[in-house]
């Protein structure tokens, strides 16, 4: 009944958090990656530090489909609390691995799957002394069993263990032994490998496995950001952790230990964005990583920055809202809040990375755009992209890159200038020239969130005020031409059906497009990477009379932005929504489109 699934299956781990399973699971994933087979790992963890259920899902896909697939071929059920639920999740023909140290309730069975018991606890208790080690090694023991069952290359695993524990060699032997225990037990008691197994390939060359937050942090370092301000919040915290450690490595004077950066843990998010604005006012590149609640708290200052025209880079690693919501689940539900943050007439530039490589590239772009446009730019990531390890193209860097600091007058220019007026639109692109404090007396002006005229003076005059806010609209037009273009994938035989999506929905949509193609349905795909929308988005929308907007929120927020900010008739847009908090899977998209197209036919 179980068919072969070489390099095309899902292994899921059910653990208890705080027991060290995370490192074991990702080690296993890394091993498969090194065998040249594309993989991805999704971590479903609780908003808690220790003792609650946590799951890890590894998808192995020779075809390179790395979204969630909805199936589970091998379940490693290490948590008795959730055993029943985990058992039911296994796809027919699949395998379940459990710790047979304790007799398993006979009720907990299914005859359409293979259930394998490994006495993990017993083996580890017999083999290891300290309680802590015994707990940790149980994880490595099931890794060992899987090496046998999935036919992994044990040399790769051994090498990985040596690398991971390079810093404390003492641990290396224990881990190797644990793996060996599990491996031998599996070999002796089961028929290895399983039909779901890994075969070496060469499909991961030029790729890396990295989480989006780390890549974002690298982008901030390479863009030349010197000031980082933040208030810790899941799932954005690792952005600043990574930024700090990279700076410690690359921005610290070996002799004096002096730092060429300054990271400030603010008292809250209102202060964090304020610190960023104080820094960019003075010409430093500055950023703050946060999540939904932070965006709400920053909204007053975001409106200020829009009106006073100060650069700022905000990284919104989105989680499930509203309010505190589910801090350890993913969603794309801050689009409206970010796009129109703050009272009054305001609009903000948004960027949508869809994989870690883009987190890196768009982070750099965010700083250039913020400086060029003199306005906040919000990098819209999310928990799935930010905290999970994704297989992505190697990051590349052009050493010829120099930051675009936008229109800034230096001392010499000010010296020779007749006069300086902060908000004059000399070039007709809606962008005025700015100056930094401390540079030249002629450059002095007031940054203010209150009414001002084009010369920078305070005003309560209707005409003068209007001149300024109307120019801001011209600047918005300019922005639409400067932001990163959408990635458009069109098919020669496409039937005028298109899909639009942003960010981490990409793998699911891409897989869905392929799946539909196999069914002979050819849809075009426009992955938007920025707001405001560029002309290419308008063109795509105009060229399709049926457009599906795939997004991970309840209220169709991307569709709302398309409706408001493009000329596309809203009747052409159909929503495909996924907002339960787990990353969107390809099935959802395929089914939604098939149903809709069905209706279209039957109607």
């Amino acid at each position: 009944m179980s068919q072969d699934r070489v390099n095309d299956f899902v292994v899921k781990f059910a653990n208890v958090n705080g027991t060290g399973s995370a490192s074991a699971n990702s080690l296993l994933m890394k091993a498969i990656f090194r065998m040249g087979v594309p993989v991805s790992g999704k971590n479903f963890f609780p908003s808690n530090i220790q003792g609650l259920p946590t799951w890890y899902e590894i998808r192995v896909s020779e075809a390179g489909h790395l979204a969630r697939s909805g199936r589970v071929d091998v379940m490693v059920a290490m948590n008795s609390q959730t055993y029943l639920q985990d058992l039911h999740e296994v796809s027919p023909g699949g395998t379940l691995l459990y710790d047979s140290t304790w007799p398993r309730d006979r009720m907990l069975a299914r005859d359409d799957i293979t259930v394998l018991g490994v006495p993990l606890a017993r083996m580890c208790n017999e083999h290891f002394k300290s309680a802590r080690t015994r707990v940790l090694m149980k994880n490595m023991a099931y890794v060992g069993a899987l090496v046998a069952l999935l036919d992994l290359d044990d040399e790769v695993v051994t090498a990985l263990i040596r690398e991971v524990f390079a810093r404390k060699p003492s641990a290396i032997d224990a881990n190797l032994e644990a793996v060996e225990l599990g491996f031998r037990y599996a070999k002796e008691h089961f028929e290895c490998p399983l039909p779901t197994r890994v075969e070496r390939r060469d499909l991961t060359a030029g790729k890396i496995m990295i989480d989006g937050n780390t890549a974002t942090a690298l982008g901030c370092v390479y863009a030349g950001a010197t000031v980082g301000a933040w208030y810790p919040i899941t799932p954005s915290t690792s952005v600043m952790d990574a930024f700090k450690s990279f700076c410690e490595r690359f921005r610290k004077d070996p002799e004096t230990g002096e730092r060429r950066y300054c990271v400030i843990q603010a008292e809250d998010e209102l202060a964090a964005i304020g610190i960023v604005l104080g820094a960019t006012w003075n010409g430093a590149r500055a950023f703050t990583p946060t999540s939904g609640p932070g965006i709400s708290l920053m909204s007053e200052f975001l409106g200020f920055a829009y009106f006073a025209e100060l650069p700022a880079v905000v990284v919104d690693v989105q989680r499930v809202g509203p309010s505190t919501g589910m801090p350890t689940r993913t969603q794309q539900a801050d689009l409206l809040a970010a796009a129109y943050a703050s009272h009054g007439d305001t609009k903000h530039v948004l960027l949508f990375p869809a994989n870690p490589r883009e987190c890196f590239e768009l982070a750099v772009a965010a700083f250039d755009l913020a400086d060029r446009l003199q306005t906040p730019v919000i990098l819209m990531s999310d928990l799935d992209l930010g905290m999970n390890d994704w297989m992505t193209d190697e990051l590349e860097w052009d050493d010829a890159y120099r930051p675009d600091r936008g229109k800034v007058l230096d001392a010499a220019e000010l010296e020779s200038a007749q006069s300086f007026h902060r908000y004059l639109d000399k070039d007709g692109d809606g962008i005025a020239y700015r100056t930094y404090p401390g540079v030249h007396p002629k450059g002095a002006y007031f940054v203010r969130g209150s009414g001002h005229n084009k010369y920078g003076g305070y005003t309560e005059n209707a005409r003068e005020y209007q001149e300024v806010v109307d120019r801001l609209l011209r600047k918005w037009q300019t922005a639409a031409g400067l932001v990163p273009k959408a990635v458009i994938r069109e098919h020669p035989q496409s039937a005028g059906v298109g899909i639009v999506a942003v960010g981490s929905s990409d793998p699911a949509v891409a897989e869905a497009v392929d799946a539909l193609a196999e069914r002979g349905i050819h849809v075009d795909y426009c992955r938007i990477r920025a707001f405001p929308f560029g002309p290419e988005v308008e063109r795509f929308l105009a060229a399709h009379d049926r457009i599906f907007v795939v997004e991970q929120n309840r209220d169709a927020q991307l569709k709302a932005l398309l409706t408001l900010e493009t000329s596309c008739p809203k009747e052409r847009l159909t929503s495909v929504l996924h907002y339960g908090g787990l990353p969107i899977d390809s099935r959802t998209v395929v089914e939604a489109l098939l149903n809709a197209i069905q209706e279209g036919v039957t109607a």
Partner: protein, 351 residues
């Protein structure tokens, strides 16, 4: 924020400082505050201090929040950059500014509402970070700009113009700063320029967070009988605990004092503050003692003024962060970007 351009007539023979600038060069736009507002006197004192310190105006940056007090940066140092933040959030702007350019002379002007109500959290944390700036609270016990509601610095028993009485204990910025580890804590009175100017000078030269809480009566909403922030009341109850002279670097201390009467404190740029103690049982270099003294006098119905505490040895924001000497906003990009090879290296970890 409002300000009317002021005709800049430079009278001949107007005194010039070491930079060849006259006091006019340190002025700003015409004030639009109420005639007699205490805030305007503080503005004048700031102008005076900058002129006497021979500071180039454009090396200074003015930050404030929202309120009548927060409008005043438009009225001094016309050649300096200014920043009117949103209400109560100026300290975070100052923090970022200081992080980006450690060489700026940062002057923050705020109000009791701006700093002790909506801004209390940011104010307190700026003190903790020992941000290198001069922070002036123009304290009138009310929200002037919104027409006279009590602020958090209003004393128990003080009456509003409409007769309403405040029964909540006040927040004293000075005690707060002392408790939070502030390294330069002073109190002044807008009506006493002689005392205020040297305090401002010392505060500008101090490396770290220099707080001056300046009692600054609101003539329109809080200068009446039964107000404890009126000119009359403040004159009657304020008492100077330490008289402060500021002596620039390399300048000899001219006036001679009797033994032990004066405590000279050397600042980081070589300038000195001379603290002449009025009451001998008071030590402006002992935080705990300062706090105790202020509380004791306060119980006795007195408002203690002067440079109440100074400690020059605490690290400021950059000291704590070990930031490089060169202002971060002046570092060449080349010294910030690790380059393509480093990137390749870093990625080994991710394979």
């Amino acid at each position: 924020m409002t300000s009317i351009a002021k005709p800049r007539i430079v009278h001949k023979g107007l005194k010039r400082n070491a930079l060849g600038l006259t006091i006019r060069d340190y002025e700003g736009g015409m004030s639009t505050l109420c005639a007699g507002c205490g805030h305007d006197s503080i503005t004048a004192a700031i102008v005076q201090a900058f002129f006497e310190l021979d500071l180039p105006p454009h090396r200074a940056a003015k930050v404030s929040g929202i309120g009548c007090s927060s409008k005043t940066p438009a009225y001094f140092l016309g050649a300096s950059h200014g920043f009117n933040a949103v209400h109560g959030r100026m300290p975070s702007i100052a923090t970022g500014a200081s992080a980006a350019n450690r060489e700026l002379y940062l002057i923050g002007v705020s109000g009791d509402g701006d700093s002790l109500s909506i801004g209390l959290g940011q104010f307190a944390h700026a003190v903790r970070r020992n941000l290198n700036m001069l922070y002036i609270i123009e304290n009138n016990g009310v929200y002037g700009l919104t027409k006279g509601q009590f602020s958090a610095s209003a004393d128990i028993g003080t009456k509003a113009k409409r007769g309403e009485e405040n029964r909540q204990p006040p927040i004293d910025a000075v005690q707060m700063a002392l408790a939070l580890g502030g390294t330069f804590v002073a109190r002044g009175f807008s009506g006493d320029k002689e005392q205020l100017v040297p305090l401002i000078k010392a505060g500008l030269r101090h490396r770290g967070f220099a707080l001056i809480d300046v009692l600054s009566p609101c003539v329109t909403f809080n200068d009446h009988e039964a107000s404890t922030k009126s000119y009359a009341y403040t004159r009657r109850h304020s008492r100077s605990a330490v008289e402060t002279d500021f002596v620039p670097p390399r300048e000899p201390i001219r006036t001679s004092y009797a033994e032990g009467e004066v405590v000279p404190v050397e600042l980081h740029d070589g300038s000195r503050v001379l603290l002449r103690k009025v009451s001998r049982d008071y030590d402006p270099r002992n935080r705990g003692a300062a706090l105790d003294y202020i509380r004791a006098r306060h119980r006795a119905g007195e408002i203690v003024t002067g440079l109440l505490y100074i400690g020059e040895d605490e690290p400021d924001l950059h000291g704590i962060n070990h930031t490089t000497r060169v202002p971060l906003n002046a570092l060449p990009y080349e010294s910030l970007c690790p380059g393509s090879e480093a990137l390749a290296q870093v990625q080994r970890r991710f394979r």
